[in-house]
Amino acid sequence: MQVTVTVNGTTGSHDVETRMLLVHYLREVRGLTGTNVGCDTTSCGACTVLLNGESVKSCTMLAAQADGEEITTIEGMAAPDGTLHPIQEAFREHHGLQCGFCTPGMVMAIASFLKEHPDPTEAEVREGLEGNLCRCTGYHNIVQAALAVARAGELVS
């Protein structure tokens, strides 16, 4: 079937199998491999992207369901000149990543979370990231990064 999806501001139309998951569409059809796959039970959050600005696990929906919608992936977060998005910058500043595999999903989840909770407590950040697993960082610095972005209030959505 034909789907038309705007990904990181670029609209594309492609013929895809009806059973194709959004994550496979992004990775294989759109060539955006920054979105990772870490599980097969929608548990890890490595595949998190933004659907019309809200986080969604891209392994839980079909490409067909994104027809006509806007998707943002990790590749769409930095400015065109390569300047990192404030959340990406905060991850670097606070050493919120080690192997980096969970990172794209974490960044997208935080982007969505902070839009809804611009001034969260630490506990709220931790609850908000419940769907994203990281095996490397112990979460401490990820949480610090999210709180720092909120404190700076520089998030432009």
Binding site: T35, N36, T41, S43, C44, C99, L129, T137, G138
Partner: protein
């Protein structure tokens, strides 16, 4: 970082500073490429047909059904591939001369020995097609009884392999003075005897494994991409096992999404992709799925421990005696049998103990093979001694901190020759304990605990200590030889200055999240007076970095970092000769500062290393006999292990009504010697702590009686999320290691080693007034609730 009271290494240059990681931009922007991200036109995708039985005779395998499926290019049984192997799969650590190790082939020939053992493979144009067709392979099994429980397997009631006469693989003993141990136990006023179970754990690196083998044109090499920690070891072992000349294999580990030991192995799928690409002359790739990973990637831990302490009435420990059963799983993987040995010397922990005895029996079961998992042997040892020290404290009626203090190896005793035969390099255990107690306000916590108990509060407070030492920086090759390990423990490095004054560093260490690029460029920046940004670190590709022994055992900095520092020193030696020649002075008259050689006493006469690199490159005017270019290599083989140490304190709230445990605070004071980058050290400690907390509270690979793994997904296997752990307050003491010129010790595993006993001690501490002395891991609400009921019927909880 308000929570960090870090005593940084005094820094002249960048070493010791919290420099931000150079790796991050590529990882943060989605540009980094993991194996699964590589686009390889024409590649066949492999799916593996796995045994659904823990133990079964494979009577027949018929792949014809799969061959007719859409997109399928080929399918093979174990018998079809039998001719491909140069040898069985490798085990590099036959710990005893008589160790049993049943032959292990990538696809089982006629007996499947665990759920997940491969019985056939299918190759197709896409992963989905390969997986669909895998379901059409017809396998006839004759189910055999399975050896599942470790202690039951040790009884040989059921054999895990039909061609073995016993499940016992080996018994390894370390008892330097048996009489001394007997005497100490005979004379002991107080003895403690504890039994602990180290449950099986699933490493669960967030990136599952992946392999892609691309045969190169013109009869050339095989380019093997693998999500591995060990490209160098893998190349050698692939060569031997697949019968491919080693020099024709190039292994590349691209971005690797965590390992924790689970990618420190030579796996069936790596071998299969290689031999199938040889057989079919096409690229062959395989991407592991998460539920497949639970069975096909090694597990960690899996021990039953018995530890005894002989002490006097004050709780001073005279002797430690340990007996282990260690679950090998169905086969010996790369270092499976050696994992308990990595802890064998450390069951007396940080305590000055005169007599020591350790015995371990490795046992086969019909379960996924075990192997090194973060800490490998040392978390198990630390758990046993630190739990037993709390038991001792209860027995002699002393505070856990005090009983530790009474037994510490004194700071004045280093280097300390242990009863187990190690030479501990340096330490100040009491200093770390003091700092940790201060960081948590230990006295205040004890008062709060008493207050809550007095008020009959439902949320009980528990404080758990864990003082640890580990041996890392694996390893002195001679020591490895004495332990029957078949390889060495050195690391190789090359440093070269390019004509423009930029620097290339080639390292045999293989990062997968640890930040080697950042740390290595910091070391070189200070050595050569360049900016870290001007240092390119080349790694993880055997064509670029042909010599190396890779990353595990917290060895990268202590061994690999030392190698690059030594190579840089050699480069400087050569540059000094060249500078002396050009400045027409004696080499001894030159001093190097910030990358510039100047003549002592006449600083205007100077030459920068960058300029010397250009001179060495043009080679127009070199001293007689000097070869062009500024480049030097070093291979460093340490003379001793390093011994990081520290004290961690866990604070838990236990709900006496529901059994729910909340880890509310956690403080860690670690001493890893000199620090190159404290930011990275913090990160390693944080992540390590959570992995150890996970063992204490959440994770267990659960098998049913038939040997089926019940925890194959993240909905059953509970890797903790951010909401289940607190933030951490970290402190550090700095006791440089005399084992290497950088004075560093290693920090990759410390958090995991220390945290598990700290948390379980805290839970038991919360309930100790009710008579609870032990709770099995993972300490689930149900187990807590039941143990309250069992210890003190009528006080709430179950029975």
């Amino acid at each position: 970082m308000s929570a960090t009271m870090t005593e940084d290494t005094p820094a002249k240059g960048v070493v010791g500073t919290r420099m931000l990681r150079r790796e991050d931009p590529a990882l943060l922007s989605g540009e980094a490429r993991y194996v699964h991200d590589l686009v390889v036109p024409g590649a066949l995708h492999m799916a593996v047909v796995r045994s659904p039985y823990a133990h079964a005779r494979v009577t027949s395998v018929d792949v014809s059904g799969a061959l007719g499926m859409p997109g399928v290019a080929a399918a093979f049984s174990g018998a079809d591939l039998a001719g491909e192997w140069g040898s069985a799969m490798p085990c590099a650590w036959p710990v005893t001369a008589d160790m049993q190790s049943p032959p292990h082939f990538p696809v089982a020939l006629n007996e499947a020995c665990y759920v997940g053992d491969a019985v056939a493979v299918v190759l197709a144009g896409s992963q989905a097609e390969a997986q669909d067709a895998a379901g059409a392979v017809a396998v006839v099994y004759e189910e055999l009884p399975a050896a599942v429980d470790l202690e039951d397997a040790a009884s040989d009631r059921v054999l895990a392999h039909s061609d073995l006469s016993s499940n016992r693989a080996y018994t390894w003993e370390l008892t330097p003075d048996a009489d001394a141990v007997t005497r100490a136990f005979d004379a002991a006023a107080v003895t403690v005897k504890e039994r602990y179970v180290q449950q099986r754990l699933i490493p669960a690196a967030m990136e599952p494994r992946g392999v892609c083998v691309v045969p190169q044109p013109f009869g050339g090499e095989y380019l093997v991409y693998s999500a591995t920690q060990i490209p160098h070891i893998l190349r050698t072992m692939l060569g031997i096992t697949a019968g491919v000349p080693e020099e024709r294999i190039r292994v590349v580990a691209p971005s690797v999404g965590g390992g924790f030991g689970s990618k420190l192995d030579v796996y069936a799928e790596e071998l299969l992709c290689l031999v199938l690409s040889r057989r079919l002359r096409k690229p062959v790739r395989w991407s592991e799925e998460r539920s497949e990973a639970a069975q096909a990637t090694i597990h960690g831990r899996g021990q039953v421990q018995e530890i005894e302490l002989a002490a006097d009435t004050d709780g001073r420990v005279q002797a430690v005696r340990v007996r282990l059963l260690a679950d090998m799983g169905a086969y010996m993987q790369l270092v499976t049998p050696g994992v308990p040995l990595l802890g064998a010397f450390l069951y007396h922990g940080v305590y000055d103990v005169a007599a020591y005895s350790f015995t371990c029996t490795g046992v086969f079961t019909n379960k996924t093979p075990t192997d090194a998992y973060r800490g490998a042997g040392r978390p198990e040892a630390t758990y046993a001694i630190e739990r037993a020290m709390d038991a001792l404290a209860r027995k002699v009626g002393t505070d856990p901190a005090e009983v530790r203090r009474r037994n510490f190896i004194g700071a004045d005793k280093f280097p300390y020759a242990s009863a187990a035969g190690l030479l501990f390099d340096s330490g100040n255990y009491e200093g770390a304990l003091d700092a940790a107690l201060e960081l948590v306000d230990y006295e205040g916590l004890r008062e709060e605990q008493a207050r809550r108990r007095g008020q009959g509060a439902s949320k009980l407070l528990g404080v758990g200590l864990s003082s640890y030492v580990e041996m890392c920086g694996l390893a002195p090759s001679r020591v490895l030889a004495s332990l029957n390990y078949v390889a060495g423990g050195w690391e190789a490095a090359t440093v070269r200055m390019l004509p423009t004054g930029k620097v290339q560093v080639v390292t045999g260490a293989t990062p997968h999240g640890q930040g080697h690029v950042t740390s290595w460029s910091m070391i070189i920046a200070d050595k050569l007076g360049v900016s870290p940004e001007d240092v390119e670190v080349l790694h993880s590709d055997t064509a670029v970095s042909p010599l190396g022994l890779d990353t595990y055992g917290s060895r990268s900095l202590a061994v690999g970092g030392t190698a690059i520092a030594l190579a840089a020193d050699r480069l400087i030696d050569k540059a000094r000769l060249l500078a002396a020649h050009r400045l027409e002075v004696a080499p001894e008259d030159l001093e190097l500062s910030s990358g510039q050689f100047s003549v002592r006493g006449s600083p205007s006469s100077a030459m920068a290393l960058g300029a010397l690199a250009f001179e060495a490159f043009t080679a127009h005017d070199l001293p007689q006999g000097m070869e062009p270019n500024l480049e030097a290599s070093a291979t460093y083989d340490p003379t001793n292990f390093t011994f990081p140490f520290g004290t961690h304190v866990a604070v838990v709230e236990v709900d006496a009504e529901t059994g729910k445990v909340d880890l509310v605070r956690y403080s860690a004071v670690d001493d890893c010697g000199n620090q190159i980058n404290p930011l990275i050290v913090d990160g390693q400690v944080h992540g390590g702590i959570v992995q150890g907390v996970a063992q204490a509270l959440f994770e267990e690979a659960v098998y049913d009686d038939d040997g089926n793994l019940l925890t194959t997904t993240f909905t059953d296997y509970l890797v903790p999320a951010a909401s289940e752990v607190p933030s951490f307050s970290l402190g550090r003491t700095v006791t440089p290691s005399p084992s290497n010129p950088l004075g560093v010790k290693g920090i990759g595993e410390a958090g995991t080693i220390a945290s598990t006993p700290a948390v379980v001690n805290a839970v038991v501490d919360a309930l100790s007034h009710l008579g609870v002395v032990d709770i099995a891991m993972p300490v689930t609400p149900e187990r807590v609730w039941r143990s309250i009921g069992a210890a003190a019927p009528g006080t709430g909880g179950g029975r």
